[in-house]
Subunit: 322 residues, 2 copies
């Protein structure tokens, strides 16, 4: 990472789409993707990192475009036999996917850090960009619902986001620090822009921002921070973003997302479907079609977001205290 020019904060699918677009419009080696690990889970003793893996598979050209998650060239013998044995199958692990989890779990047990192991996997998958978990310490997103507090994947996969969300808690976050590679990327002199991907703010981006020292590290270089809207005409492309905003008493709108990131971001990429509300923002807004349904779309959104960020004035860099 001798010349990191752009850092993207990302959750899973939506974030990985923007990241993939970025690799088409800039040198991937100068791109650093900081990924949420609040979704990580222990499944049958395997350390599974859904958002990190979605990013790995997407940038490695291995993502399953039919399913919208998981790997291409996937088989399902593992899940079938796990069912035969009476084991849990609510979280679908494909056979090829399991190899990554077994490999990672073994390395973590041997004392390697999640960021080191993730970097090794990225290299093995032929990925030029740096994919970095937000922290090497475990952080577990817990969803507070009317039915009690539940683990993230219980909420997201097993219960299909059905319970009404009353709040979120990031278990262990007080003890977490940004991964060293994240701080290294953010302190790179070549850095030009920080993008917040169109991932669910509450579920996927907030865990990253909640890591102590993360917000300070994002602000320190003084480069523009730009969020790409996850809400198009009052709806998310996929996932529970707007359902949760409603449940948390927030208007399901791009304006509310910008307000959510208020104080952190310097600009907002607004979808063309919401152009009529551009005047409601109290920060610079760039309007474009943000739907990333094709690779060409992804590259165009990435290029527009990046150019927009570069067009914004730098803030004074915050020098770390001596």
């Amino acid at each position: 990472m001798s010349g990191v020019k752009a850092v993207v904060l990302s959750g899973g699918v939506g974030g990985a789409k923007l990241a993939l677009g970025m690799t088409a419009v800039m040198d991937p080696e100068a791109l650093c993707i900081v990924v949420n690990t609040g979704d990580d889970l222990d499944f049958m003793g395997l350390h599974v990192c859904p958002d990190v893996d979605t990013t790995l598979y997407t940038l490695g050209g291995l993502s399953n475009r039919e399913l919208g998650w998981g790997r291409t060239d996937e088989t399902w013998s593992f899940k079938r036999v796990m069912g035969d044995l009476g084991g849990p199958t609510w979280f679908s692990l494909g056979d090829a996917d399991v190899a990554l989890h077994v490999w990672r779990t073994q390395k973590l047990r041997a004392g390697e850090s999640l960021s080191t192991v993730t970097a090794q996997a990225a290299r093995r998958f032929g990925i030029g960009a740096a994919i970095i978990p937000m922290s090497d310490e475990p952080v577990a997103t817990r969803v507070l619902t009317d039915e009690g507090e539940i683990a993230f994947q219980d909420y997201f996969v097993r219960l299909r986001c059905a319970p009404a969300v009353r709040g979120l808690r990031f278990d262990g976050v007080e003890q977490a620090r940004p991964a060293a590679a994240v701080l290294e990327a953010l302190s790179n002199a070549a850095l030009e822009a920080i993008l917040i991907a169109p991932s669910p703010p509450d579920l996927s981006v907030d865990p990253i921002l909640a890591v102590p020292g993360m917000v300070e590290a994002l602000r320190a270089p003084g480069v523009p921070i730009v969020a790409v809207t996850p809400v198009l005409a009052g709806a998310a492309v996929k996932g529970p973003t707007t359902k949760i905003m409603g449940e948390l008493g927030v208007e399901a709108s791009a304006v509310a997302v910008a307000r959510h990131y208020g104080g952190l971001i310097d600009g907002f990429v607004l979808d063309v479907r919401d152009a009529s509300r551009a005047s409601e923002f109290d920060l610079p807004v760039h309007v474009c079609d943000t739907l990333m349904s094709t690779d060409a779309n992804k590259a165009r959104v990435a290029a527009e977001a990046l150019a927009f960020a570069r067009s914004l004035p730098r803030r004074p860099a915050v020098r770390p205290r001596p």
Copy 2:
């Protein structure tokens, strides 16, 4: 196991063939197979029990008859991706097979015993016979070779039995006890026969016999103990049995196998190809075709071995000390 009538001591493939034959000629619920666990290995953090699993798959009708090991309906995505990641692939794990290992490893970590977990798997695979690991404590067969002491699967799979064997050591065996279910089966009043399957004596049966208390427990009921020859006309059907016998300075013959088990067994099932040497045995011998190439063969060998054992006089039961 309210009415165990026969106990079989077994290694992997050859033993599982005899066990399968047994289920065709007797009530499977009255059959108990005590399986070697000296071959067990930790592979990428997964607890793999090759001999137990061969027995489970064979009796569950799940064995891969083309490969001669592993499962039927198997896929290989796990191994492919493990290779992509630079992980070890010398020990071939199929995707369906991996599910059993992940499931078992998780249960063992949660504190369940190997015999409990194995019994659960057998039930899930629809197996009537009891499949019991020789011990719930770990025992690791170590192979002493000219190139030093190596782990069993390193010798057996990775090095394809190439190094000359100078001896064997069963690491941890001093701390092991026969699994409770083994002792329970052997003390069953209905017990009529104990068979030693045609598995490699040094590699697969000796670890079972080396468990402290095992030989005493086998002798205690006073029922005939019969070994089925693993050597036919100076050669094993499969595997390194006779190669190892030669390396250990023992004649590669059925006579030498009977001598190996001398003092423990009451009869020996000799292959018809070795009938001319029947007079060299100093114990009752039953001669038949022991090749178990078809299911019909397996059933016939099982029936003959069982009838032979039943025809032998019982010894006085050894009462446990009060």
